[in-house]
Symmetry: C2
Subunit: 181 residues, 2 copies
Amino acid sequence: MKVRYTDGQEAILQRTNLGNMQCPIARSLERVGEWWSILIMRDAFYGLTRFDEFQQSLQIAPNILTRRLNALVEGGLLERHQYSTRPPRYEYRLTDRGRDFRPVTQALLAWGNRHFAPEGTSVVLTNTETGDLAEPVLVDRKSGRELSDPVFRLAPGPAADERTKRRLAEIRRQAALPDKR
Amino acid sequence: MKVRYTDGQEAILQRTNLGNMQCPIARSLERVGEWWSILIMRDAFYGLTRFDEFQQSLQIAPNILTRRLNALVEGGLLERHQYSTRPPRYEYRLTDRGRDFRPVTQALLAWGNRHFAPEGTSVVLTNTETGDLAEPVLVDRKSGRELSDPVFRLAPGPAADERTKRRLAEIRRQAALPDKR
């Protein structure tokens, strides 16, 4: 775990390596499980690409921004391109992997607006053709059904190891116990 | 920022208070912007409710699990219920706010399966009626259009303050610059 101290220094603290878990959620968090990274991705989806644009938007220390941007480049979510040689200047563009992360930030946006905007919403997603507010909902592309429908269940995939299979079976068993709601 | 040291101790490090930002994504991260919290929520969606179930699934130190569960109760995502008096035992049930967080973990699941499963998927979401793999996609409930469609744009909501309005306007201006892709 990379932590930032009040003086702006960062340090690595040992922790469970989420990337070794077979769970796709854990592996995803390994790549962007950090607030600043998610907010940088948010700004990249807004269309920001340059260091000073991110810096102005996020108001964070340049050395921290540099590290977070480098981590996102290393994780394959952003690509670094030189757009000026004199002076040397770089911009950070979304990769396909980075673009695919957008539903996560949009789901966070919807959840935040629903639960943490006691004074009313400040940032909304609108349909520019109709002027309507968008209401994000996660569905299955094929059937069109909402993923919250109990017809959808987690199952082991082709690469599941014994531990993952046991874990999913155990979870199914416990969730079905009669003394649980 | 709460950090966990290698000896299992936790400490609070000062950082920007995301909850003060008007951005709904930043505010959401303030509540669950921590790996363990998101993995606890994942397990709660699987149907786990009891301390020892979470502990067995996550393999984390009991004192850390206690703190993360308490933070989720405090944040209004889980509710604590006593299910046994002798011995006293509690379970943690999802609230409406907690249940509404599910699309975030499902979006992470889809992203992780797509990008971080080089050996094939280990955990998948399936349609139990058809046996098909679910393909999660975020759409607007009203129009049915995918939220990745450029017709959807961020805009200031009714409670946006001047700073948020300026920020969104500036972002729109920069994203439209001709020298950007």
